[in-house]
Symmetry: C2
Subunit: 352 residues, 2 copies
């Protein structure tokens, strides 16, 4: 039985929504995904609410604002939509939930004809991550393009930020600082490396990876790296009531970040650069080493131990294993803090 699609009423706004839904359906067809089934969703787009069957529903929301989170001269409209969806879906990865769908609010400047292209990229990201487009809202904006994505997922046993125990090891997936390297290049007036540009423009939410880790073993805590390793490790420490000590020499730096001026610059991009959307997790000592080979075989992605938890509080770091750990600033991007700037580029470099 197919998803109930309510027939939309007349009017120019509904024409726009209708064309967005049509392109979402067309994209699902091209990807061979077919019509969503009614076992997953009782009511989809067109009614007042999306209604989702099942227990243990995870819901998150992620806001993307033009000239704050992205710039139009850096990204194609489709990439703006993809990023907005991936950022929201990454919050589902961060609790090891399985995506059900997304709802999308879009505020479009007058005479801006990029709405459908933004939604095309968004639909593609949603479909490729296993999420349906469940609904949304659409309005004019007298200023910037604004995209707010609600991600809805299912989880029987969410893995939270607050489970880190003293003695745990802290691990990350993939390599860090690629998105920040792209922003740094743009801000310096250069075109970024293709891998860095791809990291910023089409990030992947680590949904399958998070669920594999949760199923295979003993995750104590999990977070996605949206604010940068320094910022998000500080969140883990704070939520869990432990101190986390990062081993700076072990942080896996993205190839493009590695081309930054100095080793210190590269590390600053990897620690302070937000929006890598890799995972950071805590496991008992030894567990990560047991998981890494199978994870690499399954996803072609490295797992790297970057630190450990000890009694205490706050985020610390040490240059070498025999050095004394020192407090590390939060380093995440803050929209409101004294170091905040108008663009993601300023997320980098304020951390170490």
């Amino acid at each position: 039985m197919n998803l109930r699609r309510v027939r939309l009423g007349p009017g120019a706004e509904f024409d726009r929504i209708r064309s967005m839904l049509e392109q979402d359906a067309a994209l699902r067809g091209r990807l061979g995904l077919g019509e969503p089934g009614r076992d997953a969703v009782l009511v989809g787009p067109g009614d007042d609410c999306a209604v989702v069957h099942g227990a243990g529903i995870a819901i998150s929301v992620d806001l993307s604002v033009e000239d704050v989170h992205f710039r139009r001269d850096w990204l194609e409209a489709e990439e703006i939509g993809w990023r907005a969806a991936a950022a929201a879906l990454s919050d589902l990865a961060a609790v090891a939930a399985a995506p059900v769908g997304v709802l999308v609010s879009l505020a479009l400047p007058p005479a801006d004809d990029s709405g459908n292209r933004v939604m095309a990229g968004l639909s593609e990201a949603a479909a490729r991550h296993g999420a349906l487009l469940l609904g949304g809202d659409l309005a004019r904006s007298p200023g910037p393009l604004v995209i707010d994505v609600v991600a809805v997922g299912r989880t029987g046993a969410p893995v939270l930020r607050s489970g880190v125990l003293p003695g745990d090891e802290i691990w990350v997936t993939g390599r860090l600082g690629g998105a920040a390297a792209a922003v740094a290049a743009w801000r310096a007036g250069r075109a970024p490396d293709p891998p860095a540009r791809a990291a910023f423009a089409r990030p992947n939410a680590r949904i399958s990876e998070a669920r594999w880790l949760a199923e295979h073993g003993g995750l104590h805590a999990l977070i996605d790296l949206s604010d940068g390793l320094a910022g998000d490790a500080a969140h883990l420490a704070s939520a869990s009531g432990v101190r986390i000590v990062l081993d700076l020499a072990d942080v896996p730096v993205h190839e493009s970040a590695g081309q930054a001026g100095t080793a210190g610059d590269a590390l600053a991009l990897a620690l302070g650069g937000g929006e890598d959307y890799e995972l950071c997790f805590a496991v008992a000592s030894g567990t990560g080493d047991a998981l890494a080979p199978g994870f690499l075989r399954t996803f072609g992605l490295e797992l790297t131990r970057v630190g450990r938890a000890v009694p205490g509080e706050g985020l610390f770091a040490r240059e070498r294993a025999d050095a004394e750990p020192r407090p590390l600033g939060m380093g995440g991007f803050s929209h409101f803090g004294p170091a905040a700037g108008p663009l993601p580029g300023e997320r980098t470099g304020n951390s170490a």
Copy 2:
């Protein structure tokens, strides 16, 4: 057992979120609502996702943009927040769902110190409608204040737009056009009547009313009046594949709309004015008359029959019971249609 509240990390952005959560908790205390229980919500603010127990989850999202949906010189910051929450929660009323909570995305202009006041009004509206603050996102805006509210509710058997049958009667709660009368007054340079101003500034989502109606009897279809009676009745007709004929003489006009220049002006406000957030529903002939006295006793609010459904399609209206029905324009507010203007005031008058 209390709701799990994750301890937030350091930083100015989290300080803001923390202060907003604190004011939400303080408000719940003042209202005597206490801490939310873990039977309803497994994970609340501070983690990556809100996780809600239970089956039949309804989720909706509603966007409010400065100078599109509201103006700062018309409303206090708290009222802006209240309206944004009520508009989103009204979508739960529109499917007869019981609120669980809201997530709030807020894009704030730099140096705008009204964020906490907006959130105070929003928290109050949420609490008074039985919704918890589950999470959200916060960013700077280089332009307007933007508020996007996700409403999450529970519903075993949602009442949809698509169930109107030929022969059904169409009924509404309350009186229509009050919010539009306030906007018309502001745009004419006058202060609105207090009742009209209250209708626009502090609307109530008809949550309890919708659930009462769903429990008491035989609702075939339900919608909330966010686009105006003409617009939303057209949605009912379109979603259900029927024609709806409104009896214009029976439309209950709000006292403030009734003070508009002519009877035609008053009717235009009642038909075309969005954001009354009253309910419109379809029932078999006779059911509404049986419900109305108990509804009035329970809520102090009138139920009024405004039309009927017949075979066919589209929205029609007649001036008198013996007149020939004629097609009625959609009349709802469109952000993108040719009649769209920069402000809600332009929602009125383009309908009949």
